[in-house]
Symmetry: C2
Subunit: 238 residues, 2 copies
């Protein structure tokens, strides 16, 4: 299904009061539905990708806020370890695939292969081109086995990103999040945009669809993400 | 590539003296080539399937006999644990895929999905039919990443199997290997033969070929297996 970053205006906005009310309603229902997810042994995989400072962590925290910590695991994905580099890139992700009845949340994911590894040339062109099929097969295999897979791309504008970088630098609670690398990645915005569009083009499948979330306004982004997760789970449990 | 059990006469035989000489020569070369495999970071996957008492263990031991224990791991595959059952059937195998430079040996494997799980109806028809594609994709993915995959089916005749069962029962060192189940499986020889032929038909790919080894004569089987592993490794290192 055709999908491009430019289809979504990152500045799209729900009025703050409405957004907060809707987020709370979605969270209440997510808390309530949890028992049934576990009872029916529904396995769920949430993938969060997005621009640096795009709001992945915040959106993710709102979803799990009222869940039993035993029912989910968050996997923050950083550069692979030496041991991981000695394996196929999907190896470490297979390891963390949740059991039936659990939710696995990937804060960055196997899509690193076609994003950072492509742009930074850690993967050869052959490797990242092949990865689309490998990833589609991987997700299809899990889907056919009953997994619900929901993928988010948190989309913000370059200006908004700059504001957030500066906020982080000035906030002692968040300064640790910033590195030189963030600015270096920012300089490659166009390369990343091309890689993101190719990723959306190649891997927006019926069994594991992408949702590009307008991210400039945090309340909007969090509400839309939580509602999307809730709706997908409700549909699956019907 | 078309391949059926009936293509191979399990009674095929190399004279014992010749077999032993050839096995020793292959073992010597396997010991010698090990350094290069590790140096060039070649990852190798050996799959052993076969009739009960078909000689998987014996053939496997001859291959690793002179290898550094750090360079390989043998994974004996039994029924899945409760935790494993809560995951996709490939999950536990991904976990044990060797790192580059290592050899992973599977004594039974993911092919259980289309053999025992099919015949014993632990998997639905949809599930085991789908598994051929899933397995081919899985092996293709590893092959494309540089893995050398060699698959063996140890083929013996029903009469030879009966002789071996009786030997095991009369040998205090081997009696532990026998269970009621072995005779139950034997009663389903035809069902297993159909499943094996479908497996060979569907998964004998260029990137992960099957080798049906004539197994009635142990020295022959072990020699042919060791020579096959050696040749595949030599070709890959060329």
């Amino acid at each position: 299904m055709a999908l491009r970053l430019s289809d979504i205006d990152p500045n799209q906005r729900i009025r703050k009061k409405e957004a907060i009310e809707r987020l709370e309603a979605a969270q209440l229902q997510l808390a309530t539905i949890q028992h049934e997810m576990s009872e029916k042994k529904l396995p769920v995989i949430l993938v969060f990708e997005g621009w640096d400072a795009g709001g992945k962590g915040g959106a993710c925290r709102r979803i799990i806020e009222f869940w039993n910590p035993r029912s989910f695991a968050i996997h923050p994905v950083a550069a692979p370890s030496e041991e991981e580099k000695l394996h196929h890139y999907l190896w470490r992700f297979w390891r963390d695939i949740p059991a039936r009845g659990k939710v696995g949340i990937f804060d960055r994911s196997w899509y690193g292969r076609v994003l950072v590894e492509r742009v930074e040339k850690f993967a050869t062109k052959d490797e990242w081109k092949r990865a689309y099929t490998e990833i589609n097969n991987f997700e299809q295999t899990l889907h056919d086995d009953g997994y619900l897979i929901i993928k988010f791309f948190m989309h913000i504008s370059p200006d908004e990103q700059l504001r957030r970088f500066q906020d982080r630098e000035n906030n002692p609670l968040k300064a640790w999040k910033m590195t030189e690398e963030d600015y270096r990645n920012r300089d490659k915005w166009d390369d990343y945009e091309a890689a993101i569009n190719d990723m959306l083009q190649e891997t927006n499948t019926a069994c594991a669809p992408w949702h590009v979330i307008p991210g400039n306004h945090k309340a909007t982004a969090r509400t839309l993400t939580a509602e999307c997760v809730l709706e997908a789970i409700q549909n699956r449990l019907k």
